[in-house]
Amino acid sequence: MSNLVRHRLFWPVAMLLLLLVGNLAFTPGFFAIELRDGHLFGALIDILRQGAPLMLVALGMTLVIATGGIDLSVGAVVAISGALACQQISQLGDQGAVGGVLVAVALALLLCAGLGLWNGFLVGVVGIQPIIATLILMIAGRGVAQLITGGQIINVNSPPYKAIATGFLLAVPVPVIIAAALVAVVALVTRRSAFGMLLESVGGNAGASRLAGIRSRQLIIIAYVACAVCAGVAGLMVSSTVSSADGNNAGLLIELDAILAVVIGGTSLLGGRFSIAGTVVGALLIKTLDTTIYTIGIPPEVTLLFKAVVVVVLCLVQAPAFRARFARRRPTAEVSA
């Protein structure tokens, strides 16, 4: 038990469960999952589905943060990706054509990869501090997204495209599958190859890594590209949810949520050790928090206060120093919260 409590992810997971249980108190059927027309429905499924974009952005962000960097441009990339895909699709003769949609999606992701390359180049090769390097794209990228959409909302009417966010595969929502697949791929690549370890090394001590012969440039670039592509996929989901692209608002402030998810998951912003499982839990926690706010009906005026309290409580219970103080007074710190 005490090993369980000491586990890095114990408190985030506990908090997540607490929030879910809290929801149950307000909405009795909250945990119910039903099969309707061969599709899974239910609040928990909704959280997974709605949380998929954030999870993806946070996933990419984890890699970047592991290198000791940060990527502020993900929100802009989310917008650009959706904008380009929708713009391409809207010009198709037959918007329902799977081939055309695939091309559009591929183009969008390619562009995102290019943007990631740009970030990676600025950070890894030119040597600009990550926060500033990605700030450039954060500002300009929004402009680019609006340039693509002409400042309007581009609507598409394309069933295949719509399926990215609202479809089901084997009863499971497609975005959940995509997110799970990408998480699995990243987890596999980082842990089965040496990518994760070398990334942690670069983030932990860049100078020593160089002297150990690690090509940090290459790793850093890959991390930023992966981050941008993840954000791109998230952007497709976001725009596909409502079958339209909104250059200004898509992915607005998602970078903050993503970084928060990563840090809640136990990855340090200073770089080094990272935890993908932690990031997933972090993203789910944030999304659940949002849902909780809507379902409990917290008045908008105090929404932020509520969030602040949750973040503070979470930080404190997670802080070893805090628990040490707590434990000293009460030797058996096995509270069921």
Partner: protein, 313 residues
């Protein structure tokens, strides 16, 4: 600064020396480009400026009042002939407007008023009244459910917390509906004026409240997002759940015509021509009315069908 250079050179003779060649120079500080509505507004102003032969110094404030103040101050030092802007918020303009007044540059407000007690700081204010928009929506709802016997369960999608249209549209709606105990507001959350957020919040609403009769969304986009959520939950928007929104952008009108929205209160962004007329008059020294309302209306499903073909934005 590639393309900028030649254009900058061109503007060289225009700005500052505006009065010499007779061309009016107008400094316009836009809030941002946060929505399709806003973009249409910008476009209308830019196009009508060109049509009216007015040289426009356009500046985008990216939703920040600080930036708008900076832009106005910059217009003053550029010695433009007239300044127009859509204030992000009501308060806080006195200082910079006084500077403009001291510099002898007249100011026109668009879209939203300022709450300064000193009415001489600006010449006129042209725009819609968000409170009235909310009231119009409320009145329609009252009429629509006049015959309903049981309680009417409503949910509301608000704009960004703290944004002026959100506050006023909520207030206007509530002022009409609030007195009637028949109407019950089950939930009201911000959907940030966007489709994605509108959909997400609506999903939560639907889950927590199985029995919703009416949705009031502060703009079309949130309404459109909510429609997706309603459809995904297996209900029929416009029938199972009545929907009333504000704005009347093209997509909203389309949904209205399709029967998915029941009523839209127009909030027209196309105030460019009116603004340019006013500007010319003001620069020429003519008196203009203190308050100019934009020409707007409301749309029912029938009206939408006929209005849709020549909807510009």
């Amino acid at each position: 600064a590639c393309g900028g250079q030649e254009r900058g050179g061109g503007s060289g003779t225009g700005s500052g020396a505006g009065k010499d060649d007779g061309q009016i120079v107008m400094g316009f500080s836009q809030v941002g480009a946060e929505s399709g509505w806003r973009t249409a507004n910008t476009k209308s102003i830019q196009e009508s400026a060109e049509a009216a032969g007015i040289k426009l110094q356009f500046s985008d404030a990216q939703q920040k009042q600080e930036n708008q103040i900076k832009a106005i101050r910059s217009f003053i030092s550029q010695k433009v002939d007239i300044i127009a802007f859509s204030p992000v918020v009501e308060s806080g303009w006195d200082t910079v407007l006084k500077e403009a007044k001291d510099a002898g540059i007249p100011v026109i407000l668009t879209d939203r008023a300022v709450d300064s007690p000193d009415k001489t700081l600006y010449k006129t204010f042209i725009g819609s009244d968000f409170v009235v928009e909310g009231q119009k929506a409320g009145e329609w709802v009252k009429q629509e459910f006049a015959s309903a016997s049981g309680p009417v369960n409503m949910v509301e999608l608000q704009g960004n917390t703290g944004a002026a249209p959100a506050i006023d549209r909520k207030e206007g709606f509530a002022s009409v509906i609030g007195s009637d105990p028949k109407f019950k507001m089950l939930a009201s959350q911000p959907g940030d004026f966007t489709r994605v957020k509108g959909k997400e919040v609506m999903e939560a609403f639907l889950r927590a409240n199985p029995d919703i009769d009416l949705l009031y969304a502060h703009n079309d986009d949130m309404g459109l997002g909510a429609i997706e959520a309603i459809e995904a939950a297996g209900k029929k928007p416009g029938t199972d759940i009545k929907i009333v929104t504000v704005d009347a952008v093209k997509d909203g009108m389309q949904a209205l015509a399709d029967g998915k929205i029941n009523f839209i209160v127009e909030c027209s962004p196309l105030l460019g021509p009116q603004l340019m007329d006013l500007a010319k008059k003001v620069v020429a020294g003519e008196t203009v009315p203190e308050r100019v309302l934009t020409e707007e209306t409301t749309f029912t499903q029938e009206q939408a069908k006929s209005a849709l073909p020549d909807r510009k934005y």
